[in-house]
Symmetry: C2
Subunit: 258 residues, 2 copies
DNA sequence: TTATGTACTATTGTAATACAATACTCCAGA
DNA sequence: TCTGGAGTATTGTATTACAATAGTACATAA
């Protein structure tokens, strides 16, 4: 009637974890709503039946998952987690699992054409003129590697936003974080990007006439070109990204965490 | 010569945050490698020039981002964040930002064909025979909605793994979390999935002969079919996922957090 | 000899307390 | 109305201590 599978490992959770779960539950169930201030640490400690250090450990955990943030008067306020939390987690995973540039690029190869295709179907005049302005700007900075990379980033961001797909924006963020620095290295080696500008123009023209097929195709070409550029520049694309970034001194983790 | 933009807000970070960043940096840069044990709290405190409670707050933050986990002898060990961390963050973002089923599906529409295409180029005999076994199993459970969904999930997982792209696996996880329950709802309404089995078979055959093009095409058809199924079943695909899941009682967040 | 019990030790978990640093409030005074 | 400063609330950090637990080594009993 009893076998060893019945024993359920029983490990008590430490108090700081119980405290975290209690708070998290209150937030998830809506008893504490985003924007609301948490009680002060001392009161929290009393209410939860633990001491301040314990409460603080729980708060740090919630802080890291984005459920609370430091508010106006230094007080902790409940918050809906920002997309950055998800994006940062992804970024970390990419670095620490030794994912290669090629893998990142393959993702790019799936996502950017998708973005272009969707954008072609739904883009509005506003974003369209933004992209046009971006193209003009790109012409001007064709000889300035740094500015060119920035313009390129903006172009792709605009397309992604034009796609109207928020899941795409989430997934794209960490990808770009790695690829665009690499592009900087490529144009430093191979010179300015006339091909880049051409491709961007073709995509733009396709968006203008709502031609999803063509937008996708040109974007695909464009991304493939990028990989060729990396290969020609000698970037070891099958190495883990963190290694490549180290060896090439690519700027990364630029975003300050505060 | 000086305007107010010059003043850079200067806010000193608290010590627990500096400590966290110091440790995080060491981990991200590979000075502390996954699997390695951290020094005991007391020593950490000494090395960082802070006290134990402060170190503990930093550790709780790292714990929440998955960079360290409780190891064998209760000691903290460095860890490559499990995909779960990234996936959970993404999931949270998807829910809390009111992303719609259509948006999730569009991502699926980009990622699954990509997976199939890559898999066709690189798949090995081992995984291929796994997929074959999965197909045979799928035939058997065609009349059992629950088992069928499970088989479907397994099929797509196998393809994704066969792609050899770890970034794809990361990005795919939260997507599937939402879509597969929906598929369950669809077959409950529309009956068994002969079309599903056909599509799976075509993809498999393409993989077998390393025909990436065909694998991609059939997967695309398959995913498009899935959306049609959702529409026919009356699933309100333009509503935020969390709302749909509520209304339809789809199983979600099944994964226990402990 | 093997197994069981037992003290010992290292480390984490938690409490209690204290004080410094800072941000906010409010009031006096120019 | 603005400025400056005292008072206060709250967070940030240190200090110390002790309880709980997992690992270790050794002793004892079968």
């Amino acid at each position: 009637m009893s076998n060893k599978a019945d024993i359920k490992s029983l490990k008590r959770s430490p108090a700081y974890q119980l405290a975290e779960e209690a708070l998290r539950k209150m937030i998830m169930e809506g008893k504490l709503k985003p924007g609301e201030m948490l009680p002060v640490e001392h009161d929290l400690a009393d209410q939860l039946g633990v001491t301040r250090p314990t409460v603080r450990e729980a708060l740090r955990k919630l802080e890291s998952s984005g459920l609370v943030v430091r508010g106006a008067r230094r007080r902790m306020v409940v918050s809906a987690p920002s997309p950055r939390i998800a994006s940062d987690a992804m970024l970390q995973a990419i670095v620490l699992h030794g994912i290669s540039y090629r893998e990142i690029w393959q993702m790019h190869m799936a996502l950017e054409p998708m973005a272009a295709g969707l954008a072609a179907e739904t883009i509005d005049m506003d974003l369209l003129s933004n992209i046009e302005a971006n193209l003009r700007h790109t012409e001007d900075v064709l000889e300035d590697p740094e500015a060119l990379v920035e313009a390129d980033i903006e172009f792709h961001d605009l397309i992604a936003r034009a796609s109207g797909n928020h899941a795409l924006l989430l997934a794209r963020a960490p990808i770009g974080e790695f690829l665009f620095p690499a592009y900087g290295a490529v144009i430093n080696k191979l010179g300015p990007g006339q091909r880049l500008l051409d491709a961007h123009r073709h995509v733009f023209n396709a968006l203008k006439v709502n031609d999803a097929e063509t937008a996708r195709d040109w974007m695909t070409k464009h991304i493939r070109d990028f990989l060729r550029g990396c290969e020609m520049a000698g970037l070891p694309i099958d190495e883990p990204v963190h290694k490549v970034n180290q060896d090439w001194n690519l700027q990364r983790f630029q975003r300050e965490s505060a």
